[in-house]
C-alpha cells in the first residue's frame, strides 16, 4: 500500500479480554516494528520483525503480549487478558531493510481497557 495502515484506529475492551491489533506495512518493506506510547510519554520499543522472523522480542512487556508476521507482510500484535495498564497507543512502522533505512509510521491504534 501507499503507507503503513493500522486497524482498528480505536479499540475499547473490557479488562481480561484478548485483543488483536493489525499492521499492514508499506509494500516491499521487509522490516516491521511495533511500539507503544502511553499518554504523554515517548515511544517504547516492543518487537521488531525482519521478514517473518522476530530477532528481537526483548521489548514485549509480559507473556500476555505476542506478535506474528505472515508472508513477510501483515503483522498482528495480540494482547491476552488485557489489563488497564495496557491502555496506550500502539504504533507500527516499516522500513525497506531495517535500521539502516528510513522508517515510516502508521496512524496507530488507541487501545482503552475499561
Amino acid at each position: 500500500g501507499a503507507g503503513v495502515s493500522q486497524s482498528p484506529s480505536n479499540k475499547v475492551t473490557e479488562k481480561g479480554k484478548d485483543v488483536e491489533l493489525r499492521c499492514d506495512p508499506i509494500s516491499g518493506h521487509t522490516a516491521l516494528y511495533w511500539y507503544r506510547q502511553s499518554l504523554g510519554q515517548g515511544l517504547e520499543f516492543l518487537i521488531y520483525f525482519q521478514g517473518n522472523s522476530a530477532p528481537d522480542k526483548s521489548g514485549l512487556p509480559s507473556d500476555r503480549f505476542s506478535a506474528e508476521r505472515t508472508g513477510g507482510s501483515v503483522s498482528t500484535l495480540t494482547i491476552q487478558r488485557t489489563q488497564q495498564e495496557d491502555s496506550a497507543v500502539y504504533l507500527c512502522a516499516s522500513s525497506l531493510q531495517g535500521g539502516y533505512t528510513e522508517a515510516f509510521f502508521g496512524q496507530g491504534t488507541r487501545l482503552t481497557v475499561v
Binding site: 515511544l43 521488531y48 525482519q50 528481537d56 531495517g98 539502516y100 528510513e102 522508517a103 509510521f105 496512524q107
Partner: protein, 110 residues
C-alpha cells in the same frame, strides 16, 4: 544499552521565533531520523539524516555522527509546528532495533 537524550524537554516559542533542538546519543549511530508528532498523534517524517546537513523549507537538520549528536533547526516558527519532536536511531549492537529519544515538546503561541 544506548541512551538517547533530547533537549530541551519543553519549549514555548512566540510565532516567528527560531529554535534549535538537540539529540545526543551515548554511542555511535549509523542512522538517525527526526520525527514530528502532531497533536493528533501522527508521526511525520522530517529528516533521514545519518550525517551532514539537510534542509526542507523552514526546517533543517545537521548530524555529526562522530560526535554523536544531531540538531534540528526550526526557523520562523508557526503554530502548526507545535507538537513533540523525536529523534530515533538504531542500536549499535542490534542495528535493526530503532529506539527513540524522550522527545521535545514544542508549543508555538500566536
Amino acid at each position: 544499552g544506548i541512551q538517547v537524550e533530547q533537549s530541551p524537554p519543553d519549549l514555548i516559542l512566540q510565532e516567528g521565533a527560531n529554535s534549535t533542538l538537540r539529540c545526543n546519543f551515548s554511542d555511535s549511530v549509523n542512522n538517525l531520523q527526526w520525527f514530528h508528532q502532531n497533536p493528533w498523534g501522527q508521526l511525520i517524517n522530517l529528516f533521514y539524516i545519518p550525517s551532514g546537513t539537510k534542509q526542507n523549507g523552514r526546517l533543517s537538520a545537521t548530524t555529526v555522527a562522530t560526535e554523536r549528536y544531531s540538531l534540528l533547526y526550526i526557523s520562523s516558527s508557526q503554530t502548526t509546528d507545535s507538537g513533540v519532536y523525536f529523534c530515533a536511531g538504531p542500536l549499535k549492537t542490534s542495528y535493526d532495533k530503532v529506539i527513540f529519544g524522550p522527545g521535545t515538546s514544542l508549543s508555538v503561541i500566536p
